[in-house]
Subunit: 69 residues, 6 copies
């Protein structure tokens, strides 16, 4: 499926922390720093996410703010 | 200011496209692909964003989805 | 690509309104009412979105609020 | 209250999974598939959400991405 | 309609800037600073938003980040 | 760091509720009602957030919807 989501950042899962409802997944980007994602626990199980999994972090452009020093 | 925002990705502005209300800013990440941000036109002017500006893309973890092939 | 995005609603594009930076796409869900999406103008062009196109509306669970009468 | 939120999808609660901070609510849309919402545990209790409750799923247009096959 | 949306901030519209697709609405909170909202142009017209209108700014808790000096 | 984030609301932490993955932080705005934020547990620990902490609630304009009575 081709996505309107402008930001598609490939990486590898570093860790998965699961709560009863939500989960936090840390991803080392192929070229770049770590990125953190908060998704539902169901989604983690549905995608079988675990350390070492190859994934793509997906971020809609409206969700990206900008900072300048 | 220290932020709760888990994802802080440094890069350089590649282009700024401004409409009457909103603007789209493309950023080449220091180590990584391009990322696109949609912010208000006011914010672009307030931060003086233009091609070549050093910036940080900021993404809250709840806004990051994940895909697997 | 399999997505963590819990909400994947198939439908057909009803209209596309494009500004200089952003665009608004209205989608009639296969079984259900209309849904509106705001994405970048680039995304509309990249996906070739136009009236009649078969699409899937994608919404992360964290972006869904709930109302009760 | 009339809302700017473009997407207002009526349905019925199918399940509520509550963690210590957040909760995940699954809703069968009146005409359509299931939709998942992640809201705070407080909100679930405040609205008295439980299986069978008639609700409206609310999604701002900026939070809707689009996919095409 | 009672909302799961935790943040409901009453105020008065200060200005409306409309583009072809999106609009930016600035709101002076009853007790507090100004807040800015980006919604669709359709939503502005649908709600008849104009300077002086009494409104409530609505923000889902997952969309609120935190900064500390 | 100067932010594109249009909404920066100063206040004081009232409570922090932490789950295994996420946390909910309630903030009394300096001039105004309470506001609720859902962030990761890591972010709470990273910022040392606790009752009484002076903070700024940060909300991107695209995440602000509007209601009218």
């Amino acid at each position: 499926m081709k996505l309107s989501t402008r930001n598609q950042l490939p990486g590898t899962v570093v860790s998965v922390t699961t709560g009863e409802a939500m989960a936090v997944v840390r991803i080392k980007l192929d070229n770049g720093p770590e990125i953190t994602s908060s998704i539902t626990k169901d989604a983690v199980e549905d995608l079988g996410l675990a350390e070492g999994a190859k994934v793509t972090a997906l971020v809609k452009s409206t969700e990206v703010a900008i900072g300048v020093e």
